[in-house]
Amino acid sequence: MSVRHRLSEFKAGMKPTVKELKFIITRMRKSPLSIVGIAIILFFIAIALLCPILAPPGYPSQGGDPYKMPHEGWTPTPSPPSEDHPFGTTIYQFDIYYGCIWGTRIAFYVGFLVVGISLAVGLFLGIVSGYYGGAIDEILMRFTDIIYAFPGLIFAMALVVAFGRSLTSVLIALSLVGWPTYARVMRSEVLRVKQEDYVEAAKAVGCSDLRVIVKHVLPNSIYSLLIMASLDIGGIVLTAAALSFLGLGSSIGFADWGQIINQSRDWITGAPGNALAYWYTFVIPGTFIFTFVLGWNLLGDALRDVLDPMIRRR
């Protein structure tokens, strides 16, 4: 096959995908909130990518690890924003600006990792449970119920007590407790799609179970899960920040938004006579968290609005 032929094949094959994308973009354009959501996410992606430029590492206090916030000296009092420290410093003179910028990468890391694991596990179990039904379904769903009943925060605390305080414990705890919702939703979607005529038609043609699942059931049932996942990324980051604030997450000095707020625990009440003296220690990282979660929520809503009527339209 000549190159030109292959190119035209490729272009023809891409046409329906292009049409789909155009449709999604036009619908998104109609709702301003979704544009705001996408803008926020893009903004944060830009920050995460440009970390080394925006806040270059290489301070001696870091000891080679760019995720440790740099500090000069060990003065416990936070100092307000100044030329050297655009966002001020928190206890022990850790630089808030640096922490917030590099915290973006951590936020993405935490969000994507936890949701990714939950999604993968939930997807697999949900499909197996929904498609095969019977005893497998019962066993898997009871197992899911047991995990569902676990309180995530307490489990994280238990892990921290067992393995010591680190971000990894938090990640493990959250991903172990996060997947049941995905499994449940996937199972109900698979149950719905399983009954459709085209699944039976695929079996009538001789498709193996695997092929039916991958090519027919999965593409039609995964949309709710994707919407849930995008809404969840924001939620997971919030939970991780909460855990860090409680002292269960990363250690002091780690570039994580929740960690920065944790460090300002003693200073939230401010100085006597001036309640907001140390506002920059928690308002600034808090704004980062808030905006990040807002962006993902808006994106999730927008996705739902776009994908649902599309399914209805079909």
Binding site: E196, A204, V205, H216, P219, N220, R314
Partner: protein, 356 residues
């Protein structure tokens, strides 16, 4: 003419589970003992109302569903068939020879790879193309899937065969990269038909293929079916509740009620001379597109009974105006009451007594 498919005593039950441990409490007797034969290259019509089990029967014959009881003999040479019959009637009905023959020819024993290979020769076209075509697959993938799955073609050859089949059904090559929802109802049904016959099957079950399209498109589709039958040497099982369509396209027709066949005959004979009371009522209920004819209706009383608990004896007796005592106790068998060379089978005590 040679028999292509012979069904003997086919039963398909759906279990109803209940209770905490989901034990079986009852069965929906969708197909409750059907024996009939379909000849090569004929269009066999199967009519009945919704819930009578005709769709289940169609799907069971092509082994989309596994029958509970019964044999389905597909494309058995006549001498082997004779041998099987002989062995069955003789004393050692459990002989190994019989078992071996059954394993070879009886579809109800097929599984695994043999079943998958069988799919090449038997296919089905569903009623509603908007639900029977995966909405997220392109036309080229939909029509090419049977070939890919069966390992009959790939790459360029696959694409060529797909294009060839689409053109045979009046669809253009530039429509390969489209989704089903971009087509009209009639075109979607054509895509479904292309998908069904691309592996060049011998037998196709048409499950109410014209019920969800418009009247003007219906005639077109029926013409297509006839043309394809001649071109590809197909045998059809045309399942429908629309009697006027069945009358036009079928060679022979069977009437089904609550899981059993009540009457079988050649189309012209059946529509000219229906014998079973249910058939008579069914035919009289069709509205005729001619306002000058005011048909005398035989109105049936009551509703169709549930297939979980069909009435004892003849299943139709609670709604039959001519029910006799024996109808309440004994189930009638299919008896040939037609003249020589014009087979007309009816399952009714009334006619049996008349014959005697």
């Amino acid at each position: 003419m040679e028999t292509l498919i012979e069904v003997v005593g086919l039963k398909k039950y759906y279990p109803i589970t209940g209770g905490v441990f989901k034990k079986k409490i009852a069965d929906v007797k969708a197909v409750d003992g059907i024996s009939l034969s379909i000849l090569k290259r004929e269009c066999f019509g199967l009519v009945g109302e919704s819930g009578c089990g005709k769709t289940t029967f169609g799907k069971t014959v092509i082994r989309l569903l596994k029958p509970n009881v019964g044999n389905i003999f597909f494309d058995v040479p006549s001498d082997v068939r004779e041998e099987i019959k002989r062995l069955e009637n003789s004393n050692n009905s459990n002989s190994s020879r019989l078992k071996k023959l059954r394993k070879q020819y009886d579809l109800s024993t097929f599984k695994g790879r043999r079943l998958k290979k069988l799919r090449r020769r038997m296919q089905i076209v569903y009623q509603d193309p908007s639900t029977s075509l995966n909405p997220r697959m392109l036309v080229k993938d939909l029509v090419g899937e049977p070939l890919k799955v069966q390992g009959l073609a790939k790459g360029r050859e696959l694409r060529e065969r797909v294009v060839e089949m689409l053109e045979k059904l009046g669809l253009a090559e530039n429509q390969l990269y489209r989704y089903p929802h971009e087509f009209s109802g009639g075109q979607r049904q054509r895509i479904a038909i292309a998908r069904a016959i691309i592996t060049q099957p011998t037998f196709v079950v048409l499950d109410e293929p014209t019920s969800s399209v418009d009247v003007s498109v219906r005639a077109e589709l029926l013409k297509e079916f006839q043309r394809l039958q001649k071109e590809f040497d197909l045998t059809y099982l045309f399942v429908s509740h629309d009697l006027s369509v069945v009358e036009c396209i079928s060679d022979r027709v069977a009437v089904m009620y609550l899981g059993k066949i009540v009457e079988v005959a050649r189309t012209t004979e059946l529509f000219r001379n229906p014998l079973h009371p249910y058939t008579i009522a069914l035919f009289s209920a069709i509205p005729v597109p001619d306002p000058t004819i005011r048909r005398k209706r035989v109105l049936l009383t009551g509703e169709v009974p549930s297939p979980v608990n069909p009435p004892k004896g003849c299943r139709f007796h609670p709604r039959c105006s001519m029910a006799m005592d024996v109808c309440r106790k004994e189930e009638p068998e299919l008896v040939d009451v037609g003249s020589e060379g014009n087979e007309h089978l009816v399952a009714c005590h009334l006619l049996k007594s008349r014959l005697l």
